[in-house]
Amino acid sequence: MHWNSSCCLFIPIMQPLQTTRSTLPSVPASLEQERNSSNQYMSHCSAPALCMGFKGPGTFPVNYSSRDMPKQYRFLLNKDLLWVQFSGLHTDLHRHKDNSLVSISDEPDTLYRKLSVLVKGHDKTVLDSYEYFAVLAAKELGISIEKVHEPPRKIERFTLLKSIHIFKKHRVQYEMRTHYRCLELKHLTGSTADVYLEYIQRNLPEGVAMEIKKTKLEKLPEHIQKPVWDKLLSVEETASTS
């Protein structure tokens, strides 16, 4: 589902800050169909991550780790950010220490600039209730909501013959009404997005479909920073001379 690059964004000095923590209990890969009690959410959620602050105005640390399925818990240290890490992390650590289901990995978290959730259904009142639920859930989880709007409904109509044989003049008309609701969220991390989307999707009512558009932010890869021809030329020269 994710394709986080496994390489970290900085080249830090890898020193384990704490001992490895107990990992999450093993979770089945496939989503279960039946809906159990609310404890379900805890056992199926992905492991959490840590998002560290930044030190100076110019540099952007991006030294954050993602919450992933059980991995060994290690901190990436960057000498510049040491003080930030300790000051910021202490409170976070304390909170996570109590929750043994939470485990932190060192993979960098993905960033989503925008998450657009479009729900489609035949019944407008169901969509109203679902929108109330989704908005409240987003507010409680601290996700900023950009816009909640209702795109106009679409009606698909078609005409069929009323009788199985002859009687061409007598027809019957059917229509299918599709109502929409769009919820646009902004500035989500990968872990938060996964948690929120899983919660939302598990509570999707019957007869309602959903489309999720994710806009992910990425850095320019290293091979696009500079044109490769200069390096190639020098390599060829050395190869020819040697």
């Binding site: 394709w3 809906r35 159990n36 009690s37 609310s38 959410y41 805890m42 959620c45 992905s46 959490p48 998002c51 602050g53 930044f54 952007f60 991006v62 919450r67 289901l101 939470v102 960033l111 019944d123 169901v126 209730s129 679902y130 639920f133 409240l136 859930a137 409680e140 989880l141 601290g142 500035h187 989500l188 991390t189 990968g190 872990s191 938060t192 948690v195 929120y196 919660y199 999707q201 509570n203 009512p205 019957e206 007869g207 309602v208 479909a209 489309e211 999720i212 558009k213 994710k214 806009t215 992910k216 932010l217 990425e218 850095k219 320019l220 890869p221 696009i224 044109p227 490769v228 021809w229």
Partner: protein
Amino acid sequence: MAVDQDWSNVYPTAAAFNPSSVPLPIRMGYPVKRGVPPPKEGNLELIKIPNFLHLTPPAIKKHCTALKDFCTEWPTVLDSDEKCEQHFPIEIETVDYVSAGLSVRNPKARVVTLRVKLSKLNLDDHAKKKLIKLVGERYCKDTDMLTITTDRCPLRRQNYDYGMYLLTVLYHESWKTEMWENEKTEADMEEYIWENSPSQKNALDTLLRIRAAEKTTEVTREELLASGIVENYKTSVVALKNEGETENNVLQYKESVMKLLNLQALQ
């Protein structure tokens, strides 16, 4: 139901409507003649519809407090779009589909759209023009945005890799200068360049002939080119051709021509 009982214990998950568990006096259905809608006991209409009894606000709050531990915070540095663009120039758009049906999969889910601003890439003038020519319709001049949409591979990951590969290839190819690029004609040029254009030739010829007719000191072409009047004329012509005819541009052109030909303003 006891008054102090927690409602989230009655309906912990989605379940059908049970008239004896829900203590509300609900009536639903089409009323009989001069009557009221039927009551909730044995009412199929209430059982058919999806209910949100398991998602009352206190229940949602309870769920969210449990889920909050698994969420991370957005880095406070990236509070505006410009900062996001500055640090993360590439945007990847993917769509997921959730619906009930015979299959969980949706073939539209494999489409990946890559968006990047050309100003963030390390391109020089020639490379940028060549990239725009290579890419064609995928570049939008107003927003300076290159959009690459890939869906030729069966998996989303493959489409993403292909999109990044295309971006890399475009970038490196645009830095190359091929032999046949020397044959670029004036029709291929994206913007108007004044050097070696008919406008320059005409202006310089006219000035030289004026000087020759007045029999003043001989001035060479280079001196004329370097003089301020010709520079003025050049900027006004370039502005007219590249930006189009606006009021400012036309007025500027008029003034530069008057200075060039030494005409007095007509009152």
